[in-house]
């Protein structure tokens, strides 16, 4: 056989949409010359769920569950970005305690995001043990998150104006223990992976992107930092209370897969440090503000039912107010008052008395929910993969006129051909793993 002749033709290969090493659904159309990738095209959109269209159909509060499912590995950061955008439309600031809780929860989310990313990409390279260890650490963090929010994954915990409920008493000891365990697991994984010959050979010098290309493609997050640019929204445009914590932004030098892996490993440690600092310095006080920025007393926010403790709420006797004009507690004024609260009433009030039910109903139904003034804001937060931006346009009605998400994965996927062209077919797997593509966020 004459090899010179067979070499003349390249082969087309479809990778995906459902491929074992693709965590997410995406199709790569590859032109191969033997094992080498000559040319490639990325096809996305397989998880397009019309987030932006659905948001236009629902009220401001109803958008929050949709935001959970954008980046489903770190839903709390999405909640936070959207809530901050709506708060800026109103021009209000949440309370101190609420800001600290938000920081704690989003840093825990970031850790679980990076754990999943590194674990899954290590598994694809054959390091199954590291994956099992990392999921074990994630499970511990999920338990902490569940303790606070009542859900493991799709949480809707951070709302415009505040957070859903306060931290339970047992949260701090649990999470301190979880941090200790996570550190132990990270150390083990570090020993397993960082100097492992096979792992290093698969990552080092693969999937390189230059600083200039990364900026031209608008790439942010660990991906940009691995090229040596220390852009992090938490440091560059500090939001919430991030400027009060002492943490470093790890940067790489070459912009290859190995640098991205090291950046993510170090970022987890930094996030854990932020959580510890926040836990030590968290102030007391109220959790919520209304849409005019007035604080809502914490006693109004006792919300056992949302935590799953519904005992005693079913068949709850209704206290009839002697004046027959509604409850005597002053926050029921909101039922008829022009003031619109940004947060739903406690579930025990919703189930327990008519004023609470009416208030809940009115807030949720169109025209009685929160109505920010007309205008538009762009709010960026640091998501697991980079800058997560929410562009919310309000026309002064109860529904957002337009909600646009700037997905951090999107630019990285657009730049993927730069990184895989010219490399080997098998090198696509570690490169794609280091992108940490999240379908919900990429395709919305």
């Amino acid at each position: 056989m004459n090899t010179a002749q067979t070499r003349q033709h390249t082969m087309m290969l479809n990778m995906g949409p459902s491929h074992p090493a693709m965590h997410g659904i995406i199709r790569l159309v590859l032109e191969l010359d033997g094992e080498r990738v000559v040319n490639s095209d990325v096809e996305i959109g397989y998880l397009h769920r019309a987030f932006e269209k659905s948001s236009e159909q629902s009220g401001y509060l109803q958008v929050i569950p949709y935001t959970d499912r954008l980046n489903y590995v770190s839903p709390l950061i999405n909640n936070m970005g959207y809530s901050m955008a709506v708060e800026r439309l109103f021009g209000i600031k949440p309370t101190e305690r609420c800001e600290y809780i938000r920081v704690i929860m989003s840093e825990l989310s970031r850790v679980s995001d990076h754990l999943t990313c590194i674990g899954a990409s290590a598994m694809e390279l054959g390091a199954f043990t590291a994956f099992l260890y990392m999921i074990k650490a994630r499970e511990l963090l999920y338990q902490g998150i569940e303790m606070v929010t009542g859900a493991r994954l799709t949480i809707s915990y951070i709302r415009p104006g505040g957070v859903k409920a306060d931290l339970p008493a047992e949260f701090e000891p649990h999470i301190r223990n979880a941090i200790k365990e996570t550190r132990k697991i990270l150390k083990e994984c570090d020993k397993l992976l960082t100097r492992n010959r096979i792992f290093v050979d698969r990552l080092k010098g693969i999937g390189i992107i230059s600083k200039e290309d990364a900026l031209a493609y608008g790439i942010t997050g660990p991906f940009l930092r691995s090229t040596g640019i220390d852009y992090d929204v938490r440091k560059n445009c500090p939001y919430s209370v991030y400027n009060r914590f002492d943490f470093d932004i790890p940067v790489g030098t070459t912009g290859d897969n190995y640098d991205r892996y090291l950046c993510r490993m170090e970022e987890m440690e930094q996030s854990l440090q932020i959580v510890e600092q926040a836990l030590s310095s968290i102030p007391g006080g109220n959790l919520m503000v209304d849409t005019e920025g007035r604080e809502i007393p914490a006693a109004m926010m006792v919300d056992l039912a949302k935590m799953g403790e519904t005992e005693g709420l079913i068949q709850l006797e209704v206290d009839l107010d002697p004046t027959l004009q509604g409850g005597t507690r002053k926050y029921f004024d909101a039922v008829e008052a022009p003031e619109k609260r940004a947060v739903l009433p406690a579930k025990e009030d919703t189930y327990g008395n008519i004023e609470g039910l009416m208030q809940h109903f009115k807030l949720v139904m169109l025209g009685h929910g929160i109505t920010p003034p007309a205008g538009e804001v762009y709010q960026a937060v640091e998501g697991g993969n980079g800058e997560l931006g929410f562009f919310v346009v309000s026309d002064g009605s109860g529904r957002p006129y337009r909600v646009r998400v700037r997905p951090p994965c999107f630019p990285i996927m657009a730049a993927l051909p730069l990184m895989i062209n010219g490399g080997f077919l098998a090198d696509i797997i570690p490169t794609f793993g280091s992108v940490n593509m999240i379908g919900g966020e990429l395709d919305r």
Partner: protein, 158 residues
């Protein structure tokens, strides 16, 4: 399946062939995880050491539809993806079962819009529905046990 053992003699074992095959099949499920979205995170949790789906004989994901028995559809199916799902289902060999994992695959969930399929049962037949957005790992294991019961009881094609 009935088992009888008599202490004096060698123990023996009577069963019908149908039950026997069902018993064999239900504890050796090779699954094809068709992971698309959020539910994939809970699928990972279920498959890993904490909840350990391996205890129920379904620990081995096969990433080729031709080698697998159970198609686990994990996450929202959009209209763009529907033909792919159908093709993968068609590629699987009999006997095969389908698990709809998560509310998006059961009914479409709250994504009632132009892009998503309102339940995968409009495209392929479904054996077990696991609701939840996403379902908790315990819920998934319950769904798996229900599937095993179904496999045990059905008429086994050979």
């Amino acid at each position: 399946m009935k088992t009888q053992s008599q202490p004096q003699q060698e123990s023996f074992f009577t069963s019908q062939l149908n039950d026997m095959i069902g018993w064999a099949r239900k504890y050796s499920l090779f699954q094809y995880p068709f992971v698309t979205a959020c539910c994939g995170m809970e699928y990972m949790s279920t498959a890993c050491s904490h909840y350990d789906i391996d205890r129920f004989g379904a620990g081995l994901p096969r990433f080729s539809p031709r080698q697998s028995d159970v198609l686990m559809v994990v996450g929202t199916i959009s209209h763009k993806l529907a033909p792919v799902l159908k093709q993968i289902y068609d590629q699987m060999c009999d006997p095969k079962w389908v698990v709809a994992f998560g509310v998006c695959t059961c009914t479409g969930g709250f994504y009632d819009n132009y892009a998503t399929v309102m339940g995968i049962d409009t495209i392929i037949p479904v054996d077990v529905y696991i609701p939840g957005c996403p379902p908790r790992p315990e819920n998934v294991l319950d769904g798996l046990i229900k599937l095993q019961e179904k496999i045990q009881c059905q008429r086994q094609e050979i």
